[in-house]
């Protein structure tokens, strides 16, 4: 059995989850606490990939990342890197596609931290950074884990966007879901079944953990 697609998927999941942790935190904070009315417009834009067909997202990303697109041209001229059909391209696509999952999880977690704890920290002489790491983060574990698990799981199952932006280059952009599709196309149902089963077995503990955390949270708030 060819394990290479699993390795590419795993790398994609880790890169997307790691990068989105950094990108989504400030966004989630902004969406959770900003009083400005127009924030909802930006938030809706960020959530769009959840409801858009992956091909729509893939099409626009292709326009942006291709050598003639603004981002693709910048990368080509500045770093000499051709983005489309490369691993960085599927990481960018994965980030855009999974951003709403991470943002939603983090925002839910942030909103669950009582404001009074932040105020208590301020009256105890602590600045925002220390309050964030020592009070906010430990009290939003549920939202944090939920955002990470959903993002990682979603990245593992990424198909349409990856196919459009990365194609199917073995060891570079060929992720498990694409490998399954190709095995089915070539009527190799046995390998397709094996790949699919492994994905199910990987996804189940993640969903189990999420539900466990949700039940725990519900019990605490009762």
């Amino acid at each position: 059995m060819d394990w290479l697609p699993f390795w590419v998927s795993l790398q994609l999941g880790l890169w997307v989850t790691g990068l989105l942790l950094l990108i989504a935190f400030p966004l989630a904070w902004w969406f959770a606490f900003s009083q400005r009315g127009w924030v909802v417009w930006v938030e809706s834009l960020v959530s769009l990939p959840m409801v858009l067909a992956p091909t729509v997202l893939g099409f626009y990303l292709l326009l942006f990342l291709s050598p003639n697109g603004p981002v693709g041209q910048f990368f080509l001229n500045t770093f000499g890197i051709r983005l489309v059909f490369s691993f960085p391209a599927i990481v960018i696509a994965g980030c855009v596609s999974s951003l709403p999952f991470m943002v939603t999880g983090l925002k839910t977690g942030l909103l669950g931290v009582p404001t009074v704890l932040l105020e208590a920290s301020a009256t105890l002489g602590k600045g925002q950074v220390e309050t964030f790491f020592r009070v906010v983060l430990p009290n939003m574990k549920g939202g944090l884990v939920s955002g990470m698990v959903l993002t990682f799981a979603h990245s593992l199952g990424e198909f349409g966007v990856v196919l459009m932006i990365g194609g199917s280059l073995p060891g570079v952009t060929k992720v498990v879901s694409i490998a399954i599709y190709e095995k089915v196309e070539s009527l190799d149902f046995e390998t397709a079944h094996l790949y699919a089963l492994i994905l199910v077995l990987v996804a189940y503990p993640g969903v189990l953990l999420l539900n466990h955390l949700q039940r725990q949270g519900a019990r605490r708030s009762r």
Binding site: P114, V116, L117, E119, A120, S121, A122, T123, L124, G125, K126, G127, R134, V135, P138, N139
Partner: protein
């Protein structure tokens, strides 16, 4: 001496409400402010703590200004060295009693001294969820005091407790306040609570402090 003059407009339901209060509090005194719900007691405490910015006036500790409306000076809560005991305690749920104190002041022997002061050494390694209401209140008090604040603020410190506990804890708070000598402002809707804790009593009515109303 803590001297404050606070002007603040805020919304209470559908109507707009104005706070216009001045008081000079000598060092070590306990000012009790009584008033009904929605009279602006908590807003007043929040302005003193630096969690809210008044519209005008000043708050100063001797010559040290924490807020001065004329000079547009506002020292935020984290830089005021004011201890605030929140109505619902606001203990950090992921930290033990000792952890809560160490968060406030990273000095282990001192934290133990303050736990001893509020008689909580046996509960030092308990989490807030494992504490009774009175123990939570004493933890919140010790946490506010361990930084040796210039001003201690207490928002309805006994109201969440049952009647039996209220009197004993009231005496306990009084003892701790006397031992530390910290200048204190207590607000409550309960006359009994204010009488137990305060050395100077004022009534907050129509957004103003009225010294006469407490005479009964």
């Amino acid at each position: 001496m803590i001297h404050f003059y606070i002007q603040k407009s805020f919304r209470a339901g559908a109507k707009t409400f104005s706070l216009d209060v001045e008081y000079a509090l000598v060092a070590g005194a306990v000012l009790g402010i009584r008033g009904p719900s929605g009279s602006g007691k908590t807003s007043l405490l929040r302005c003193l703590a630096g969690l809210e910015r008044p519209d005008g006036g000043f708050v100063r500790d001797d010559k040290d200004f924490w807020f001065d409306g004329r000079r547009n000076l506002f020292v935020p809560a984290r830089k005021r060295n004011v201890g605030l005991v929140f109505q619902d305690y606001a203990l950090f749920p992921h930290m033990t009693v000792l952890g809560n104190l160490l968060y406030a002041c990273n000095d282990r022997p001192k934290a133990w001294d303050f736990l001893d002061l509020v008689k909580l050494t046996d509960q030092a390694h308990h989490f807030p969820r494992e504490l009774s209401g009175g123990e939570k209140q004493r933890t919140a008090l010790a946490r506010a005091l361990v930084r040796e604040p210039k001003l201690l603020l207490m928002d309805e410190p006994l109201s969440a407790l049952d009647e039996e506990l209220r009197d004993s804890l009231g005496e306990e708070i009084l003892r701790v306040q006397k031992e530390t000598g910290v200048t204190t402002v207590v607000v409550s809707h309960s006359r009994h609570e204010i009488d137990v804790l305060a050395t100077e009593v004022m009534e907050l009515a129509d957004g103003r402090l009225d010294p006469n109303k407490h005479l009964f």
